[in-house]
């Protein structure tokens, strides 16, 4: 076929699309829609409806027993302007997110570089480091609780005393709360990040490293100029998923510091993060409208942070071009 044969004079009207019989579209796509229907129904019932309902409740005063009373944006105003505990929860959450995500990625990357080969030793060590990621979460938290017990037999205190120190009330020291949470997160998450990084590193062509070696590039230079740039998609993936997960931290706070029915957040609320506060408001104090507003603010925060991350990543890509 040549260009002349397909060219159309400028004043000629475009050909009309072939006329289809009524119902043709339904006939054509009907089976597909039918097969999508079960998912669509479940999606609407278990995601769209709860989200819409939650949005409605966030605009109400609702105690789960009596009918909700519409209060407009009062819940959001109270949370953002006046609620000191919520502000503390946000501040604690950001400290935890920054600490846990950065350290998890750094340690995961170091482990990946150290144990990336297919040798038996590396495969064994990768398995060891990955184990915390597949262990039962509650059990792991209880082990950490034992480690930081105030008693002499608590592992942390045993170590401290070995070096001549005195027993400490680790879980009752406000300054220790976020570092303990970060330590647990890094210990539990670095192995998972390592596995993803190893996959990414092993996908980088060996020729690039061989050429760099011939040109005299050191290992460090190769890491900075070959490994890191080509690992960027994996880095971005780990960064975003870790960040979203970190914002939603709940179980460790609940299991380590919950002492009685209506108290969460540890000493002086030093471990209070957004989701435990949401739980506290919703299920300890029956303020479900208020708790729904917290849920939507959390959604907005994660949405914004993810948006910024994607924008920054896109900027890097454009810069590379």
């Amino acid at each position: 076929m040549t260009l002349n044969q397909t060219a159309r004079p400028a004043n000629e009207a475009p050909p009309e699309p072939p006329k289809r019989r009524p119902g043709h579209r339904l006939q054509h796509y009907g089976p597909a829609y039918l097969m999508l229907l079960p998912f669509a129904v479940l999606f609407a019932v278990f995601l769209i409806y709860p989200l819409a309902r939650s949005l409605y409740y966030s605009l109400t005063d609702f105690n789960a027993i009596k009918p909700p009373v519409f209060v407009g944006l009062d819940n959001f105003t109270e949370l953002l302007a006046n609620d000191d505990r919520f502000h503390k929860a946000i501040w604690n959450t950001f400290k935890y997110v920054i600490g846990s995500v950065v350290l998890t990625m750094v340690l995961g990357l170091l482990l990946a570089v150290a144990f990336k080969s297919t040798s038996l030793r590396d495969r064994l060590l990768r398995t060891v480091f990955f184990l915390p990621s597949v262990s039962a979460g509650v059990g792991i938290v209880l082990v950490w609780k034992w480690i930081f017990m105030v008693d002499s037999w608590g592992l942390a205190n045993t170590v401290v005393r070995f070096f001549g120190g005195d027993n400490r009330s680790w879980l009752a020291e406000p300054a220790m709360s976020i570092p303990i949470l970060v330590t647990m997160a890094v210990w539990g998450g670095a192995g998972y990040a390592m596995v993803l990084f190893v996959a990414g590193i092993n996908a980088i062509p060996d020729e690039l490293y061989e050429q760099a070696s011939i040109d005299g590039a050191s290992k460090a230079r190769q890491f900075w100029h070959i490994t890191l740039p080509l690992l960027r998609p994996v880095l971005v993936f780990v960064f975003i998923t870790s960040t979203i997960g970190a914002f939603q931290i709940f179980e460790p706070v609940y299991l380590l510091w919950r002492r009685s029915a209506s108290i969460v957040g540890g000493p002086l609320d030093s471990a209070l993060t957004i989701v435990p506060y949401l739980y506290d408001m919703g299920f300890n104090r029956f303020q479900l409208g208020y708790a729904s507003a917290i849920a939507w603010i959390l959604f907005a925060i994660i949405f914004l942070v993810t948006l910024v991350q994607l924008r920054v990543t896109k900027t890097f890509k454009e810069f590379d071009r």
């Binding site: 995601l47 105030v150 008693d151 037999w153």
Partner: protein
């Protein structure tokens, strides 16, 4: 795409926490006091908050009730950690048991929400005369409704290593001054941490004991005024805080095993420690005992809590359920529970003080518990205490952990309590 999915999932996960209980709503209600005879039921169901070791006691009183009425009692155990949420969800969905047991303050809390029947609508032979005096202020609502009554008790007691006290020639302290002297002497003898609190040492519960012993109260008798900044409360709070700053009391709650090993000589804590020590450390038999908390300048006294039992608003057999509660207070009901407790080697403190001596503890501990119950006192029933208590606790913690002056911290606590006082 993954990010978008995760983003969406994040919101859904957060929202679903709230929505699990908020999917639908229903008005609670109060019954009309139907009698058991008007209700044609074969069985009733009770959710008991606690652990499986307590099930035989509820089943025992259930057997007594079935024998008397022909109505079977189904007992389901729910864990403390989930119980509050589960019962709330049952109330709002209208789908749950006939009776529940839970925290002492939950009766008023759920009752005020419309989730429980007022037990005063039903005839009772055993309730009014047998509830411990110090508990009425905790279970009777400000409006006079009785949404729940205690089923079993938990209280603070002071456990001590009698062998170590004997070795050091120290008598069991009965006052604050005697306790201070004992701690000083034991620290001099090499015990770095002679005294610990095993039940929320920097929580409001532990503080409540000292505040009360000093003559303080949280509210005025008619709940119209917050009195947490009174000189008595200040004195009690200063003494409580001194424990941590001067007597090396840990701010975190230790395990009772440190007491068993002789690291700690005194341990205040919940009455569940009787079981923990007896069954967990049988080698300690004869080396420990218990006593009431040392009295302050105004009162002897211990915080008392436990399980409250109430009738759910959605029950179709409220009269039968109320009759079951009455049976739990009868001689036959309490005796059945205590027999089951002894058989299973579990401490079950009945809500009747006259029955404490029938528990399977040794005589010294039974005597100590009887004395404790005579002066024990429950949390206030004033509306607003539940939502205010976390903020009061933060104010108290600021004294111990940040060195905030007692008067300033209590003024902050008062502000928080006044904000929720209705």
């Amino acid at each position: 795409m993954i990010a978008r999915t995760k983003r969406f999932g994040a919101a859904a996960a957060a929202a679903s926490l709230v929505l699990a209980a908020a999917a639908c709503s229903d008005d609670g209600g109060t019954g009309q006091g139907t009698s058991m005879d008007e209700e044609d039921v074969d069985s009733i169901t009770i959710w008991h908050t606690g652990d499986a070791s307590q099930k035989p006691m509820i089943e025992a009183v259930g057997a007594v009730f079935e024998e008397e009425t022909g109505v079977a009692v189904n007992v389901e155990i729910i864990d403390w950690a989930d119980a509050h949420t589960k019962i709330l969800t049952a109330i709002q969905s209208g789908d749950g048991p006939d009776l529940f047991t839970g925290g002492l303050s939950w009766g008023i809390e759920f009752g005020e929400l419309g989730g429980l029947y007022d037990l005063r609508q039903y005839e009772s032979e055993n309730l009014e005369d047998n509830v411990i005096d110090g508990l009425w202020q905790s279970i009777e609502s400000p409006g006079g409704e009785l949404y729940g009554v205690p089923l079993n008790m938990t209280t603070y007691a002071m456990f001590y290593r009698s062998d170590i006290l004997d070795e050091n020639g120290i008598a069991v302290p009965t006052t604050w001054d005697e306790m201070d002297a004992a701690i000083t002497q034991l620290q001099g003898a090499g015990y770095a941490t002679p005294f610990v609190s095993t039940w929320e040492p920097i929580g409001w519960l532990d503080w409540f004991n000292y505040m009360y012993e000093a003559g303080g109260s949280l509210y005025s008798d008619d709940c119209s005024e917050v009195t947490v900044d009174s000189p008595e409360v200040v004195a009690g709070t200063e003494y409580w805080a001194k424990r941590f700053s001067e007597q090396n009391v840990p701010t975190d709650q230790p395990d009772i095993s440190g007491f068993a090993s002789g690291e700690y000589v005194f341990a205040t804590g919940g009455s569940w420690n009787y079981d923990g020590l007896a069954t967990g450390f049988p080698e300690l038999e004869g080396k420990w005992s218990s006593a009431p908390l040392p009295a302050g300048p105004a009162n002897a006294g211990s915080f008392i809590g436990g399980n409250v039992i109430g009738v759910m608003a959605q029950s179709e057999a409220p009269g039968t359920s109320a009759a079951f509660i009455d049976t739990a207070y009868s001689d036959a009901g309490v005796d059945a529970m205590l027999a089951a407790a002894a058989e299973n080697n579990v401490l079950w403190l009945p809500p009747r003080t006259d029955k404490v001596m029938d528990t399977h503890l040794d005589d010294a501990n039974k005597q100590a518990l009887t004395e404790i119950f005579e002066t024990s006192v429950g949390p206030p029933n004033c509306a607003g205490w539940e939502p205010a208590s976390p903020n009061v606790q933060l104010a108290l913690q600021s004294i111990v952990l940040e060195g905030v002056p007692v008067e300033e911290a209590l003024a902050n606590a008062k502000t928080e309590m006044e904000a929720t006082l209705q």
